[in-house]
């Protein structure tokens, strides 16, 4: 049984709709603000970026680290979360 956080489960359980970026697993207040500064104000925009990278979690984590200075501990769950969401809903 994989160990996923509550945030992860909440996000992956339903269509993201208009959720904010802070709803993503691994993205907290600080990182959320940084993302918004970059123009990623909603979770679906980040999803767009993820899809642009062809749903590759590694590339996406790299991108996150480069863009907002996330650590592995933040970027990897985020990528994971998005990937699962895509598996479920795309």
């Amino acid at each position: 049984m994989s160990t996923t956080s509550q945030k992860h489960r909440d996000f992956v359980g339903e269509p993201m709709g208009e959720k904010s970026v802070t709803a993503l697993s691994g993205i907290g207040e600080v990182l959320g603000k940084k993302l918004e500064e970059q123009g990623f104000d909603k979770a679906y925009v980040v999803l767009g970026q993820f899809l642009l990278l062809k749903k590759d979690t590694e590339m996406f984590t790299d991108w996150l680290k480069d863009t907002i200075g996330a650590t592995s501990r933040q970027a990897v769950p985020c990528a994971q979360c998005l990937k699962e969401w895509c598996d479920a809903f795309l």
Partner: protein, 851 residues
């Protein structure tokens, strides 16, 4: 664009082992250096390296640039490691950057798994049997099915299972499965491969007509294997991203280590034999000597010893000894030390090597130094395991090591290859730390030994003191217990004589008594008759003769115990007159020292023994009590299990009062206990009414909410197989299968898409097959049925392939009309509508029902 680039490369060197990829064009490479690639060029570069990037936009550009750099680096390293000749020297000269093009396929390996890393998810393979597979699993890795993968290193394990899956698949006797299973193989990620491999194996073994269902426990095993494989390969590929060189180094380290370990084990066996001897020898010696002697005690072992480590030790010790010749007196050398190595320390390498080098002309068989150093390298990884046998005299060694350190380092370095260096560095750190622990260990041992010695000496001294009594044989007797009268009545000379007489008498008597006590058979009596006493005293000294009686009279007069007891004719009567004295006895027997010691020892041992016996009794009593407790607990637990089983069974059957009464009994006594024992959501209704109205064939609620983990994300086929709906042995009546059909229809009453239901009466698992109008309907039915309690059994649902369903039930092909439940009464008891709030179920916290 790619074609253009290919054409511009020109004549390729013949020794370029390339399958489908080309060299980067010189223009691109030059631009790489200055980072002025356009998006298209970046795109094509990445493609050339086997990586299919997404669109290169302003956001993704930096990421892709990094990726490109990484790929190029890896390429270079592949080229250098594989040792393939670097083609494209012309290109390199232009660039000056030295991008190599050797072993292109290897780069494939690097990029593909890295780009397609999928951390062991099995969500997409839920609900599937092995032979009926992925009607709709998104084939994400289609584009990456590159052939010609090279198995580059053991680190990357993905290529290995690949050849297996096609063979496994071909054995599948469901022929229709093969095209889809080949699709399986096309999906290259490890998780799927691992899982499909296992499924393939299981499909092979399953003889049933229908495919293997997805069994929760089985899937968990698969998942474990898959995740295990994934983690392994993940580690491998994750490392490939960051530091491929380090990865290779690590693996070669592990290989080295394993090779060394292989050699190690043989040697360690020999070591083990010697070690016990040496340890014993050391300990026996260590007791009597201090650290200095111990240092000298580390002697050279026999030259013929095969013990590698011991050999190193012995040579070190030989040299130590030689160096110490001057320090301690020759007494050390004269001692006969056992010639065996005593302990292991790898830091000795330095000393030994240095010593060897210093004494190489001594011609003492140092030809072994070469292989010893090799073994030392091999043994270094085992350092930590040997640290327990550490030698305590590191301080002594450090003197030598500092002087010879540089030389030994030089000697060692040429023997070490880079990966061993890394290992060594790791272990050197351990060595350093264990220095302190060595000396601490030595110190504690020393203290312990010193304390033991001290107490031993103290005891011996005490015993000796006790035994000897007042040894004032030659000294003038200054004090006596007779009081001042004695002094006044005699002159000095006489006084002395009398006192000496008494003293000698006392000693004699004590000696006799001691001999008697210690069991020497010649002395029969503890006491001495007065005649014998006087005879003895006269033999001692002539002057005693006349004074015997007087001194005895003084003894009677004195109140204190002078150590001589006077016994009259009748024993135990106090003697008041010297005429009554018949025997003399000593009250302080003077036993020989050994005798005393023995007695003390025996008493001590006996006391300890008694104590131990008492402790043993108490402990046995406690143990027995615990055992009884445990037995009782187990019995109650078994009883609970039995009750559970009985209740499960009893509720089903429709028999009469026996059921009722037992049910009442159990429910009354154990209802609360059962809720403790069973953690999952056990059926809510345990009420035992009359048997006629006992619930049967009803839906009794859901065991767990359906979420991502235990149900497929979307419905896959229109056909369902429902298991555990009934037990064919237990079913009674004529039309129970119809009742089951009704039950299913009622459960899915909101879903009017069920067109065919078939109850397999003969299946042991209680299977029911359902076909729906469409996948959507079947998905709804799945959500309604899966994980519900029906008739006291937990129902599970899985999807079936449509064609297989039609094979089994040809009549179902023509069914298109939705079926409806005929009975008016609802057969679901307290059913929480599983179909409602689908989102909420998935978003609720994961239940522990399955996982």
């Amino acid at each position: 664009m790619q074609d253009l680039e290919r054409s511009t490369v020109g004549p390729k060197p013949l020794h370029l082992y390339v399958i489908s990829v080309t060299q980067p064009s010189p223009i691109v490479l030059s631009k790489m250096a200055s980072m002025q690639l356009t998006d298209e060029e970046l795109f094509s570069e990445l493609k050339r390296l086997g990586f299919t990037p997404g669109p290169v936009t302003e956001n993704t550009r930096p990421v892709y640039l990094k990726k490109l750099k990484k790929l190029r680096e890896e390429q270079q390293q592949r080229g250098s490691r594989s040792g393939k000749p670097r083609s494209g020297a012309v290109v390199n000269s232009i660039i000056g950057g030295g991008n190599t093009t050797g072993s292109r396929p290897a780069s494939h390996d690097v990029t593909q798994p890295s780009s397609n890393r999928r951390p062991g998810r099995k969500s997409s393979v839920l609900g599937f049997s092995s032979d009926e597979s992925d009607a709709e699993i998104p084939l994400k890795r289609k584009g990456l099915n590159h052939s010609g993968r090279v198995d580059r290193s053991p680190a990357f394990q993905q290529p290995k299972p690949r050849p297996i899956t096609p063979t496994v698949v071909n054995k599948n006797h469901h022929g229709a499965g093969s095209p889809l299973n080949s699709n399986d193989s096309s999906r290259s990620p490890d998780g799927h491969r691992g899982v499909s491999l296992v499924w393939g194996a299981r499909a092979r073994s399953s003889p049933e007509a229908e495919g293997r269902d997805y069994d929760e426990s089985g899937d968990e095993d698969d998942n474990e294997q898959a995740t295990e494989k994934n983690s392994r390969s993940l580690n491998g590929c994750g490392a490939s991203h960051s530091t491929p060189s380090k990865l290779a180094g690590d693996y070669s380290d592990s290989d080295e280590e394993e090779a060394n370990l292989g050699a190690e084990d043989r040697r360690r066996d020999r070591l083990g034999g010697h070690r016990s001897h040496t340890k014993a020898a050391f300990l026996s010696q260590g007791v009597g000597r201090g650290p200095q002697t111990g240092g000298a005690a580390r002697e050279a072992s026999p030259s013929g010893s095969v013990n590698m480590v011991g050999r190193r030790r012995e040579e070190g010790e030989e040299d130590e000894l030689r160096r110490r010749d001057s320090d301690p007196p020759g007494g050390m050398r004269s001692l006969n030390f056992p010639r065996k190595a005593i302990y292991v320390s790898l830091a000795e390498n330095h000393d030994r090597e240095a010593d060897q080098n210093n004494h190489v002309d001594s011609g003492d068989g140092y030809s072994r130094s070469g292989d010893i150093s090799r073994f030392s390298i091999g043994l270094r990884p085992r350092f930590s395991s040997y640290s327990s046998l550490s030698q305590p005299y590191r301080s002594n060694h450090s003197n030598h090591s500092t002087s010879n350190h540089t030389y030994s380092q030089a000697a060692l370095k040429q023997k070490l290859s880079p990966p061993e260096d890394e290992l060594l560095q790791q272990f050197k750190r351990e060595e350093v730390t264990s220095h302190g622990s060595f000396s601490a260990h030595y110190l504690s041992m020393f203290l312990l030994i010193a304390a033991c010695l001290f107490f031993l000496l103290l005891g011996l001294m005490y015993l000796r003191m006790r035994g000897s009594g007042a040894t004032e044989a030659d000294a003038v007797i200054k004090s006596h217990p007779f009081g001042s009268d004695f002094d006044s009545s005699y002159d000095k000379v006489k006084k002395d004589v009398i006192l000496q007489l008494l003293l000698s008498l006392h000693d004699h008597l004590a000696h006799i008594a001691g001999q008697h006590e210690c069991g020497e058979l010649e002395i029969l009596n503890r006491s001495l008759s007065i005649d014998e006493a006087s005879a003895y005293l006269q033999a001692q000294n002539q002057q005693f003769e006349g004074l015997v009686l007087e001194s005895l009279e003084w003894i009677i007069r004195s109140d204190q115990d002078v150590g001589i007891r006077l016994i009259g004719q009748v024993p135990d009567d106090p003697v008041t007159d010297i005429n009554e004295i018949s025997r003399l006895e000593s009250t302080h027997p003077n036993m020989p020292f050994v005798c005393r010691f023995r007695r003390a020892f025996l008493t001590g041992i006996s006391r300890v023994f008694v104590f131990l016996v008492a402790v043993g009794l108490v402990w046995s009593v406690v143990f027995y009590i615990k055992y009884r407790w445990r037995r009782e607990e187990e019995e109650t637990r078994q009883m609970y299990d039995m009750v559970e089983r009985i209740i499960g069974k009893e509720l089903d059957s429709l028999s009469g009062d026996k059921t009722f009464s037992t049910c009442l009994f159990f429910s009354a006594t154990l209802r609360s206990d059962l809720t403790e024992v069973t953690r999952t959501n056990i059926k809510p209704s345990l009420s035992c009414d009359k048997s006629t109205s006992m619930p049967s064939k009803v839906w009794q609620g859901k065991a767990f909410p359906l979420d991502r983990r235990n149900s497929p994300p979307n419905s896959l086929t229109p056909c369902l197989k429902i298991r555990n709906m009934f037990d064919p042995i237990m079913e009674v009546g004529e039309n129970w299968d119809l009742a089951i059909q009704e039950a299913i229809l009622e459960k899915c009453c909101d879903n009017d898409g069920i067109v065919h239901i078939a109850v397999d009466k003969n299946s042991k698992e209680g299977c029911v097959y359902v076909k729906c109008l469409s996948a959507e309907h079947s998905g709804k039915a799945f959500k309604a049925l899966h994980g519900s309690w029906f008739d006291g059994k937990l129902v599970t649902v899985k999807y079936l392939r449509l064609d297989r369903y039609h094979q089994r039930f040809p009549q179902a092909q023509s069914c298109t009309t939705p079926m409806k439940a005929s009975g008016p009464h609802l057969r679901a008891v307290g059913s929480t509508d599983g179909t409602a709030s689908r989102a909420s179920t998935s978003s609720s916290s994961s239940s522990s029902g399955f996982s």
